[in-house]
């Protein structure tokens, strides 16, 4: 009897932890009736714009800097290039929601796990169209949940400015990637931070103003 009570208690604790973790992204927010079914992000979607950012990458304590360049090359695809300050290309990808092509990558960075991480990051960064399934709110923000296969994306939109300030990509139990945007205007982000929760990786983009 004693034993089974302990076991029951442990299972309960475990369940409680799982349930709390499940709702971690929205845990301080109140569910609300969905007020729209789709959302469009326009920070990287203008085909005429060269999106050029000075970039700092911190990975497990190591720092690396360079220039991040993204450009929409057709309806579905972005070209994403990372170079050193000197201009040497470190990698060159073509990326859409469904396809991914490595045009070039230097051998030092040519690791499958790294490429897959960057692919997921950039896909999220460049994603334009979200279908929404649930909504939450607090005093200052609306949060929309958008299912994406075995992951969920949460869009944090300020109530005052009605602007997307943060995207959180999460598994069913844990936050994985957080992207925060500091805006220059309605359609342009002057600063973007991509932060990983499960690995020590942070990518910081600061818009390169041409003079």
């Amino acid at each position: 009897m004693q034993k089974s009570t302990t076991l029951f208690f442990l299972i309960n604790c475990f369940l409680a932890i799982v349930l709390i973790s499940c709702g971690s992204v929205t845990k301080n927010y109140t569910p609300k009736k969905l007020d729209k079914t789709s959302y469009e992000v326009s920070y990287f979607s203008e085909p005429k714009t060269d999106y050029v950012y000075k970039t700092n990458i911190t990975v497990y304590g190591h720092e690396m800097s360079g220039i991040f360049i993204a450009k929409k090359i057709n309806d579905t695809t972005h070209r994403v290039v990372f170079t050193t300050e000197f201009g040497n290309k470190l990698f060159d990808f073509e990326i859409s929601e469904k396809s991914f092509k490595v045009n070039s990558i230097v051998s030092e960075l040519d690791k499958k796990i790294l490429i897959n991480t960057l692919k997921e990051d950039f896909r999220l960064l460049l994603k334009k169209d979200y279908l929404l399934q649930e909504q939450f709110e607090n005093e200052t923000e609306n949060i929309y949940k958008s299912e994406d296969g075995d992951r969920d994306n949460y869009l944090f939109i300020s109530k005052k400015e009605k602007k997307l300030e943060k995207v959180v990509r999460s598994s069913k139990t844990k936050e994985k990637i957080t992207i925060t945007f500091t805006l220059e205007n309605d359609i342009f982000a002057k600063k973007v931070v991509i932060l990983h929760q499960n690995i020590k990786l942070k990518i910081e983009l600061n818009y390169l103003k041409s003079e």
Binding site: N56, G87, L208, K209, S210
Partner: protein
């Protein structure tokens, strides 16, 4: 028909301009040119110059422009300092690369990196102009609008992966006025030197970050 004629005209114009722009040097011209550059680069003890860097990627609508100042001191002290649109400085010194990125400092030991060593040699060589090493490069020589042009194709496979070709443009004084690093046929980095000062006093302490 009209289109065909137009195309023909266009092709002719392009090839004529092409010819006018670059003309292969003769063997004696090459010898004289190399001699001139060697004489000038031997005289260079220090060099400081402003530069503008244009990063050309074929899919972009505009080249990415950065600029700053470069200083060099014999035999191999080099500082490359970007001032616009951001502050980033890189020093090559005693087998080390020192970086200062908006105040954030770091150092890389290049003693154990062959490729960095080569790149270092290449940068110093392209600034002073003296990199006519037939063992390292397949070199070709051209004349163009009163300037001389040397094209270097790396022979080393590891280096070739990063740089397909280097083009140095020399003015009448046989000093380098432009470096063009080609990564592929469509993408390159072009660096233009301006306000060059040769053999002014440059203190060693400047090569720190």
């Amino acid at each position: 028909m009209k289109t065909k004629l137009y195309t023909l005209f266009l092709v002719l114009t392009i090839s004529i301009t092409g010819m006018a722009q670059e003309q292969k040097m003769t063997a004696s011209e090459i010898a004289a040119f190399k001699q001139d550059v060697n004489v000038v680069s031997k005289k260079i003890k220090t060099l400081s110059t402003d530069f503008i860097q244009y990063k050309h990627l074929d899919f972009l609508s505009k080249d990415i422009e950065t600029s700053g100042k470069m200083i060099f001191k014999e035999p191999a002290l080099l500082q490359w300092q970007y001032k616009k649109p951001y502050n980033y400085s890189i020093v090559f010194k005693n087998g080390k690369i020192l970086i200062n990125d908006e105040g954030k400092k770091s150092a890389v030991d290049i003693g154990n990196s062959k490729i960095f060593g080569r790149i270092n040699k290449l940068i110093v060589g392209s600034v002073s102009g003296n990199m006519f090493d037939d063992k390292e490069f397949a070199i070709s020589y051209f004349k163009s609008k009163g300037q001389n042009l040397a094209k270097f194709i790396p022979k080393d496979a590891a280096l070739k992966k990063y740089i397909k070709q280097i083009e140095l443009t020399f003015d009448k004084e046989s000093t380098v006025v432009q470096v063009k690093l080609l990564e592929s046929s469509d993408d390159y980095t072009r660096i233009v030197f301006k306000n060059k000062v040769i053999n002014a006093k440059i203190d060693d302490s400047l090569f720190s970050n």
